[in-house]
Symmetry: D2
Subunit: 337 residues, 4 copies
């Protein structure tokens, strides 16, 4: 149930609705909106009667929400969410471009990449300090040392930092350094972590699990939002199918479907999605043409020496060329970079 | 093995190579090329020695082909295949736009749609007279009556006809009417039909099977080409995955992968791919941005009354709007419509 | 809609019901049953009123059929179908054991295998004379010569012949030799072929398509049965998933699901299902324990020299050992071999 | 690399090998074995020379390990691992039978179920106190109160407790109560959690992720084992495929494949696997016939009132009947219950 307040409803009227909801043993969620306040209700077992609320002073209407995801749905909030990442928008008309190495490996590598992707037009620097790896014997990341290098790159370039947090234990530390907390695909349904992310006041980039349905993905976002953190963006990074020629199957169908179902920004990761350097640009272009709100791209100064994901990383000059193409496609669909 | 002749090799030199191949118990395949002749060799169990051929007069080089698909591979023919469909190109710089109803239902429906899609910029009219249906109790198509209506539409509009052939028995009849023979997804590995298609001199649009790998798909095309019909285009129409919100998962990753592996044209079918009218345009744009050589789109004057696939058919005016978007994206990637 | 006649209904009463159905523009299907006659009705757009039929003389009841598959459903025919293959049952309490080489390769190979599998307990000999192959350059089968060798093996051993028919053209020829017509996985939705199979009077073994849902599979069987051929058995042979360690993923879940939905016999193919010789026996045992009505197993006297599928073929002595295990499991679930 | 010591090698000889390994900057792992000691080596980038070790005193041989999973592989330890859960074996000839409710809901429910499943032959009680749920609005479990109820049931029945741990924070608490720590499917690649599980001295039941390959699953087990906890059992619980009639697709192919690749016990979960109460017994029988070392089955006294998974829970009397069937199949494959 969503209770939509009239445009000039008073604070007292809003408070009265909140009290009414609590008095029924339910949970109110005030939904941020440019024009007017709305209050989502969760905790009910069956469906609620609109008449419980729509006669209260200041209430415009009470709407039943048909989807199992509530607060992240377009039904509850019609306009697109634009996350303010320290002055840089994530969501909205301008594409959010994130680029950088898979893993933070060294001071030189991070700084060189950061300057290069900034010059090409990125506004976010991606890079992993904690790396989820299939094998326990593979490089697991530089940990806090890596976070410090990212912070240094931010200082030098002004780029916002997107980096992965893998668990609740390191969340406070990572949140100290990161501008956007990335949740990896294999952690999409790590519900303990999702709940904690609902408590922090940091934007979250939630990657889709390799076999997660769109609905499960939105429910994972709902975990975060229902705890009070509305700054969530979704990242399509490829699903697992029977095809073996590509690393994953980047599911661009998810982009328009998500844009119709949710107000959250949708980012596309062509690097993990197709996993082949030669084809990253084609999928990045396609992602923007499909309506994505941004891209996250792996860039490494020397991909052949990368400690992880070298086969899908662009060189800085390939990234520059990609950005030229993306600008043209963005213009063609009425978006800016 | 591929034997590439020098640019000014004589017919006699080519014939001598062909004879040499036959004398070894192998099968020669002359490969059409703008600049020079090449001769593919199949039928060998192990790999062949280049030295068997590269010293023959007129031979430029003899190349081992590493892929299991030979004649359709870029290794064997570097330049893009452009199929000449009675004066209209399929492949090459200009996008091939195919549009029309899922099923041919009536004279009025076909003619109205044909005129509308032509006005919007299509050069091919699609429409099924023989319909593969999951249930034996569903509408199975108008058969020859449907073919006649398509021919009438061609007469009135000049559009080229793309229509499905379901079996060897009706192949001669369908080939009498069709400009392009469409092979449905479920028939992609109907090898008896593929072999017959290798014998006809009609362009073929080969749809990807719902769980076919890219390699299997190219092998299916190889069945046709190895029998002598080089006029094959591939059509990505969505694969089967775990996701249930979309009808299929349009796999745009296949587009750049195919463009690097094969010289055959690649067409995208956003209608079957995502299966939701509201999102067909987004996937069509993405397909062009990914590098497709054309689109095939379902258009019906009254989708809500269509005997099949109404939920994914555009109205003529929606198609017109789509074409406007496609033109812009095409321009952005250096293609024309 | 299913009209069930009383146990002692007269022929005239049955005929009157059939006439009534035809007079409504619908199609009657007499359903064979041990105890009583039933008449399925197809061709209606909406649902029919039971009162149209249940007051007619001799009618016990008129039942709405909820599934999209009608004639193959348990709703329409409760008891298990047992196909009589020239005196050998396919379906029913005794397991139908089919064994033999993937491809018929030579007289010696077929006869040696036939005698061996018969001695081990098989009652059906499998072997392909027409082979659907992914590549046009692979061995395509011995064609009629192979059929003759199978017939010879039947003469010598009394085994019933199960062999694949790939297309409508060769159907009459294959039907002349075969006791059971096998339809390969890639032809499961070759609707033109399915329709013709409805016209012949030969049992059909319908393999599941690699990405066919259980519902689609039953609809494919419905194509055959709705044309009048009730002698259809289903064969689970593995579906396509993301797992690459096994050739396919044998989906034994389908066995109990099918047994509850349909009266048709269900056969399991552990050879194609898992595709690894060392594990065929485990999957065969599991198939029987799950409730399958039979097995079809690849056996070759010299698997390492087989022209196809050697890596999943058992030797005769491995098959003999498998049959010992199968007998024990069969006994444990109240079945005989 | 695996260094296998001679049967009567002295402690000093073992220690010398360990020192040698450390001196090369590599990590030694002593592998428990009934007959002789072996020492696994990890940490090397390229492959190691056997001659580095096989001349040392007491060394029988030094073997290269070809799989990416090392310590869990059969190459490294040939005999089956049998985990001693407080006197009850998990692995080995006797099947480990685990049963109980999806969620712990109340004292009465847990105790009633525990007594019933014990009477039917189970030796482990399963039950979730912390529940991973797709939706944040669903029942999340009774937490420590649930653990206490499980402990009470253990006291009354002697059953060993299998219960899920969802995160590192609650791991010490859950480990205080549990005999076996269950890791849910969605946490299979929660690497932070896996690492911590390597530090505790509690048996772990590691469920397969819904889209995890067998190799990834073994690598996840390797995370735990490589940190020193060898008490890991694997649980197949169904993978995600395109089929929608069953909740998941129980992949019994994984059972024989795993038994050949690893020495760890393999448990089958037919309840989550097929997700349909009517078919749980068939899949349980099939699992045992395929070679599983045990079963984990959901049982609830009143499934229709269960707070989670009611549609796949057996009643105590259905479980009793299942156990009768399992005993017969177990006997048929030379196993005891």
């Amino acid at each position: 149930m969503l209770v939509v307040m009239k445009q000039h409803a008073t604070e007292g009227q809003v408070e009265a609705v909140v009290e009414k909801i609590r008095s029924l043993g339910l949970t109110p969620h005030a939904i941020p909106g440019a024009q007017r306040v709305a209050i989502g209700i969760t905790g009910n077992k069956g469906s609620l009667e609109p008449s419980l609320f729509d006669q209260l002073p200041g209430v415009a209407e009470a709407i039943r929400v048909s989807q199992p995801f509530k607060l992240v749905s377009r039904e509850v909030k019609e306009e697109d969410t634009v996350i303010d990442v320290g002055g840089v928008p994530l969501g909205g008309n301008a594409l959010a471009i994130m680029a950088g190495p898979c893993s933070v490996e060294s001071r030189e590598q991070v700084l060189e990449t950061a300057h290069a992707v900034k010059a090409a037009g990125a506004r976010f620097l991606r890079g992993g300090a904690y790396k989820p790896r299939t094998s326990p014997y593979e490089f697991q990341g530089l940990a806090e040392e890596g976070l410090k290098l990212l912070a240094l790159a931010r200082e030098q370039t002004g780029l916002k930092i997107v980096t992965e947090v893998m668990d609740v234990e390191t969340l406070p530390l990572v949140a100290d350094y990161a501008d956007v907390l990335q949740i990896g695909a294999r952690n999409m349904q790590n519900f303990s972590l999702l709940k904690q992310l609902g408590e922090v006041r940091r934007p979250v980039l939630l990657k889709r699990g390799p076999s997660a349905t769109i609905k499960e993905w939105l429910m994972a976002a709902e975990y975060i939002v229902s705890r009070g953190n509305y700054q969530v963006a979704l990242c399509e990074r490829g699903i697992r199918t029977f095809e073996t020629m590509t690393r994953n199957t980047l599911d661009l169908n998810a982009v328009p479907v998500l844009k119709s179902l949710t107000h959250l920004p949708v980012i596309v990761d062509p690097s993990h999605g197709i996993g082949l350097r030669a084809h990253v640009a084609a999928m990045a272009r396609a992602g923007v043409a499909a309506g994505a709100d941004g891209l996250i791209v792996e860039v490494h100064p020397r991909p052949e020496k990368a400690l992880s994901d070298g086969q899908q990383s662009l060189t800085p000059s390939e990234f520059e060329e990609l950005m030229r193409q993306v600008r043209v496609i963005a213009g063609a669909v009425g978006r800016a970079v």
